[in-house]
């Protein structure tokens, strides 16, 4: 059994030079129809397919980009960042780019560099450390941020329209007659937290609804923490009739707390979350949530990054993806 055929074998079998074979595969239009056909034929016969490594070596480009998840303890298991990854992967898979995936933590721990991993561009998901960003910039590696934003650095960012999503949520609750809407926030990515919080305040104001100081609470990002914070919130007398949660895990915590206090959803309490995680429909009642099109965000990241890598000028600094409230039974 012969080893995998090279361009040279095809050249010989088809009776043309290697240069022509090369052209046939990388730029068919620059080869006469008849010649092209012969090359394809020979290639088919030999079961030849161009060696990507050799090609990379010759053109001095690797076509490799990286996606680093920058969130404490998060891995590919974090549904939000995994969905973005999915979008990136889809897009990348239909080009000839390749994707390296890791977390900020692992990247640093392993002492990886863009050079050592032959990366030509990078997508940073979440709150990336400035040192990481600077490192890439210093090496001339294009960077795109997703779900995060750093003012004054001219770094393209892909984000969701948080403000509008939150607005829809508050409008929805208000239109259902709620006047005392609480917010339970979590210690999340500061960019997102700020966006969501400010939007909440603004939306309430727009509706002319006051926000009681005691009605805004903060918790950690796990269900238990959210549950206990919610227990406190719901023990106020009188208690809020609705809770807007900074994400779905927190919302799940609120639902658990409500159940323990024997409050019925949505009659006694309306709950709405953010992100529209897959488990929203596992809850009973199903959770109303602000849907974020993470896959789309992933796609757009790749678009921005390719623009950057192709040296395009004026790549948009802000790419925002619409959000949409999905109303379910919890509100």
């Amino acid at each position: 059994m012969p080893s995998t055929p090279s361009i040279y074998d095809v050249s010989r079998l088809s009776g043309v030079s290697t240069a022509t074979v090369s052209r046939t595969f990388s730029c068919p239009s620059r080869v006469r129809e008849e010649t092209r056909r012969r090359v394809y034929e020979a290639a088919e016969l030999l079961n030849y397919s161009p060696n990507a490594i050799a090609r990379s070596m010759a053109i001095q480009r690797t076509n490799k980009i990286a996606y680093l998840i920058c969130k404490q303890g998060a891995t590919i298991l974090d549904e939000f960042y995994a969905s973005i990854c999915d979008g990136i992967l889809q897009t990348v898979n239909r080009t000839d780019y390749q994707l390296l995936m890791s977390t900020e933590e692992d990247w640093k721990l392993s002492g990886a560099t863009a050079q050592s991993k032959s990366i030509e561009g990078v997508i940073l998901g979440g709150k990336a450390q400035m040192s990481l960003i600077s490192e890439f910039r210093a090496q001339g590696i294009p960077v795109v941020l997703v779900n995060y934003f750093v003012p004054g650095m001219e770094l393209p960012s892909v984000v969701a329209d948080e403000a509008d999503g939150v607005y829809q949520a508050v409008e929805h609750l208000a239109s259902r007659g709620h006047e005392r809407i609480a917010m339970l926030a979590g210690r999340m990515n500061p960019y997102v937290l700020t966006e969501r919080y400010n939007a909440f305040v603004a939306a309430m104001k727009a509706r002319g609804l006051p926000i009681k100081q005691s009605d805004v609470k903060m918790c950690d990002l796990d269900v238990e923490s959210a549950t206990s914070a919610a227990l406190e919130l719901l023990s106020l007398t009188p208690r809020p009739t609705a809770v807007f949660c900074a994400n779905d895990v927190i919302a799940a915590g609120v639902c658990k707390a409500a159940r323990r206090l024997a409050l019925r959803l949505p009659e006694d309490l309306a709950v709405v979350g953010c992100d529209d995680a897959s488990f929203c429909v596992m809850l009973e009642p199903e959770l109303t949530s602000v849907h974020i099109d993470c896959r789309r965000m992933g796609e757009l990241c790749v678009e921005r990054l390719t623009e950057l890598m192709e040296g395009k000028e004026n790549v948009s600094e802000f790419t925002v993806v619409p959000t949409k409230l999905i109303v379910r039974r919890s509100s």
Copy 2:
């Protein structure tokens, strides 16, 4: 600003040949201490790091493996396969292997081949099509299966100890006094389904508990389908006092159905799931489930695959990872 330094620059600066620089990086012990030091110094100064592409080209190995998720409509978003991926990634990241990730579907659609993607080995997650497996084998590409098994093909498989997990679940329910335990199964990966079903039957038998025909049902893999199947199951009179579910999504459906029928968990009905998905703790009460160490499975896949790629003989055909019932409030 000079372009990235090559082995040649280091060679010149350190006053040794490129061969020696090469050796210094790939096999330090074959270079005199003093020389080695000089090389490192020069490399440091130039900020040199070996070019992986060129290296691949020279040694004719890519060190690239692929992980393909073989499940209808599943992507990296499927928590189970994502957890395995996480384990693979962790392991791979601490070696100099690289990981390409895709789905069986995308792989086929894009017409990718091991050769075109320079893959040297592949991990197939779930029920891979025989045609895919054969294709890789025909190309001499080592294959490892995870969460699946094909008899008589001598393909190393990494699986969970399904039987024991199910046994623990049934034992747990029986010891809590349940005698009428139903099973709600889903149209999942046939290998897993069979394992879980057979184990259920065996465990019930071991306990001397009869299984009523009407108490075993099948549904699709979404919550709605599970919910309606569960509604039927729970409408039997008398109804089962416990339901063992083939996975957590199905279990969530049972919980929803129970709630709609105003059954209290665990007093009126005990529910246990399989997989120990992250949303188990989001439910109220939290869901008892059979935990599967997917990350470990991922690690082991890489181990088996590397053994295969290194030409080791007698790579174990079966690698089984222990499972453990996590008892929570739903049972």
